[in-house]
């Protein structure tokens, strides 16, 4: 019987090695797999290259991983935010390397890695400083830049519900980078609120089929839901009001 579920977040992040490239889902805090990130901090792998849209918020999750000094390099589109003080400090001290990628190129390069595309011509960033060093080519009278896939050793993703085959359903805008990152990593690890019976997920709404998923771990229902119903009563950080 196929069973991709593991019983703890520690088991879920086992084997992530020093120097690994790790994609981490989420846009800001939404869809950020905080429990998996905390387990990764605990696990201790260092010298990591992280792929995320941002570079951490506040002092939790990705920001906490950065604060530990476990991250060598970050590939992202939007590091600077009102609550990105951890990254800001490391960057100003020269303690972290940054590869800045426009968000659409970031998403499409991740998808390309998962889809077996060798490279693609993107309309974004033509004529800007981010075009420097990139091959340019005109198709149909319009200029494009050659972009290459971004692959990873591991992806940490936050889904909503999963089954034992590793099928994943997401919730609202917490979906964001999860589905594409799941396709682009050697080993994809997903945290969800709960594991449901095989067949309980709507087959029309499984956004990440289990073929892309290696391990699934349940972390309990998010604080703003009760038995799957939205009940509110939290702030944007997910803390009780």
């Amino acid at each position: 019987m196929i069973d991709k579920t593991v019983s703890s977040v520690a088991d879920a992040v086992a084997g992530i090695h020093d120097g690994a490239t790790v994609m981490i889902g989420g846009f800001g805090r939404a869809g950020q797999p905080v429990e998996l990130i905390n387990a990764l901090i605990e696990q201790g792998a260092s010298g990591l290259t992280i792929v995320n849209n941002n570079a951490g918020n506040g002092d939790v999750g990705l920001a906490a991983l950065l604060a530990k000094g476990h991250v060598k390099k970050i590939i992202c589109s939007f590091p600077r935010q009102s609550d990105s003080w951890v990254f800001d400090g490391l960057y100003r001290e020269g303690k972290i390397e940054l590869e800045l990628v426009p968000q659409g190129n970031l998403a499409e390069r991740i998808r390309a890695a998962g889809a077996g595309i060798g490279g693609f011509y993107s309309p974004t960033a033509v004529g800007t400083p981010l075009a420097e060093g990139k091959e340019s080519r005109v198709f149909d009278g319009r200029e494009y830049l050659l972009e290459l896939p971004i692959k990873a050793d591991f992806a940490l993703v936050s889904g909503y519900r999963a089954d034992r085959w590793g099928n994943i359903a997401y919730r609202e805008t917490a979906r964001n980078f999860g589905p594409i990152m799941a396709t682009a990593a050697e080993t994809t690890i997903v945290q969800v609120d709960e594991i449901v019976e095989l067949g309980a997920l709507d087959p029309e709404a499984i956004v990440t089929p289990g073929i892309f998923v290696n391990r699934v771990v349940a972390v309990g229902e998010r604080r703003w839901l009760r038995n799957g119903e939205f009940v509110g009563g939290v702030n944007l950080e997910g803390e009780a009001l």
Partner: protein, 216 residues
């Protein structure tokens, strides 16, 4: 020389120009205000880069849903008819030319439509680009919403941008607190002037050759 209209007035003015049925992305910051001034009963579908079409207004404080945010990481709501999608699909909408309008902020806009809005190129600055470059080249009409002048009194409309570009020749129109400027093959054309500002004021404030295309 009079001062311009308020940010809210400007947002309302931009909202007037967005036709019913448009698919619209409002950039982080001031452009977000435009949503509050869409005329009652006019259906406009808001796109947010983080994977949603059909974005509604802010929720009541006790109904904040951390899974439901906009590009500025603010809490939003979902209108009936909302659809969610992942990031590659969201940016395919932008880059594939499916959005009718985006409204972006700016540091500088040049006469040829070049836009600079992500970096002032300063040495200590931490760069951050997000989705601005994708929006700039992808939306059918790129509108800029900005004050005409910087805090230091310099014109944001320029002959050519000195800050790093977000996109080349991408801006269609600039809505400022003083006037509306269309980008034309011959440079900026002023189509509407706000308050007591005069065309002569605009020439002086920008230092540019402007065409007077106002209907007065």
């Amino acid at each position: 020389m009079s001062t311009g209209i308020s940010r809210e007035q400007l947002a309302a003015r931009i909202a007037q120009d967005i036709p019913e049925g448009s698919y619209v992305n409002l950039g982080i910051g001031a452009p977000t205000l435009v949503a509050d001034f869409l005329p009652q009963g006019r259906e406009v579908i808001l796109h947010t880069e983080n994977g949603m079409l059909g974005m509604g207004p802010s929720p009541e404080p006790d109904r904040v849903d951390p899974d439901l945010i906009n590009a500025g990481k603010q809490a939003v709501t979902a209108l009936p008819g909302t659809a969610y999608f992942h990031h590659a699909d969201s940016f395919a909408m932008m880059r594939g030319g499916h959005l009718d309008v985006c409204v972006l902020g700016a540091f500088q806009v040049a006469e040829n439509g070049d836009l600079a809005n992500w970096s002032t190129g300063g040495p200590g600055a931490i760069p951050a680009i997000g989705g601005a470059m994708d929006l700039a080249i992808g939306a059918k009409s790129v509108y800029v919403m900005t004050d005409l002048l910087t805090k230091n009194g310099e014109s944001k409309l320029v002959t050519s941008c000195t800050y790093p570009l977000t996109g080349a020749r991408c801006v269609a129109r600039v809505y400022t607190d003083r006037a509306i400027f269309d980008v034309t093959p011959d440079g900026f054309a002023v189509t509407e002037i706000f308050g007591e500002t005069t065309f002569a004021d605009l020439l002086e404030l920008t230092g540019l050759q402007l065409k007077d295309a106002t209907q007065r």
